[in-house]
Symmetry: C3
Subunit: 137 residues, 3 copies
């Protein structure tokens, strides 16, 4: 038994957007009780990330840290699309495009403190697409 | 054909804990000969990692490198749970929570020099849970 | 319905090698129209990465950035296999060994600007193996 959809999210600048609820709701609707969920972000300047869901300060520290590892002020060769474009590709490569999460009792088996986040790395507003696929029974 | 379990590991401070043997044993017991294995760490301050299995020096260099990229001494906004907490979230985001490995002949198809590691990033002892899921025939 | 193969790639030094075409061709040949594709790199000094497929400058910036995060000149404890060996393990840990991509209409559901790359981190020529596994119907 399989189901697949494309989830769409509006972003307004660099932040971690919590998509846990929408993902869990879709998994429940598919009727798959036990299986594997894959999420795949179809972009190279936004990415997927699992991190702590309790403290907004964690998210702010995470964004500042990504900004130090891949700073916007640096002299990149690829700069035609703006100073935030190449850093966005680097941050996406670091955090990754795909997540696979086991499903049990009809829900993604996240730990208590885990949330699923769409990490936006560009400043301009974007519409981001995440393919969700579940396989199981 | 599917099987799912939660593997539990005791950690005693920052290190790479080799879980290859326990994972391979569980896959064999499920009877799945050909398929996909997903491992998912249910924490945000410990993570999963595949790296070289031959040299302990590689693991020590890896931990020192993670410590340089996400140093404990820095002035993080999120510091209430101790100086090793925010760096642990950052190291987990960098290395990731989930691994998917093809299975053939009843075993994870790792390369000769690859081991599967639970990376602990906190100093205090912890009990860490890894959901293992295999699907195939 | 499942299919599995090992794809082999010759590398000649640090670069991002575009494997999108070969992967997509293999998926098409399996006859799986809808499902999950997993790619798994069986090495610890080469890795898999999804990034922008349009600009070679993005790839050069990406390699320079990896070189700054895990520089070859540093004093690593593990240095017996050459100055590029330990940095290669670090870069592989950062970018990761496995990718899972949903399949629809018989092809990996990549975004318009996404390519799948084998990232080689060693200087000497290597033959790299990537296990490809598809499950679906």
């Amino acid at each position: 038994m399989q189901a697949q959809t494309i989830l769409s999210f509006e972003t307004r600048g660099p932040a971690l957007y919590d998509i846990t609820g929408e993902v869990a709701r879709w998994v429940r609707e598919t009727g798959v009780a036990n299986g594997l969920l894959t999420l795949f972000c179809q972009h190279t300047s936004a990415s997927l990330l699992i991190t702590e869901n309790a403290s907004p300060a964690v998210h702010r520290d995470m964004l500042r840290w990504l900004g130090r590892l891949a700073p916007e002020g640096r002299d990149y060769e690829h700069a035609a699309e703006g100073p935030d474009d190449m850093p966005a590709h680097l941050k996406s490569a670091l955090t990754g495009n795909s997540l696979t999460i086991p499903v049990g009792d009809g829900r993604p088996l996240l730990g208590t403190w885990q949330g699923i986040y769409l990490a936006e790395h560009r400043h301009a507003p974007h519409r981001r697409k995440v393919v969700a696929h579940v396989i199981g029974d």
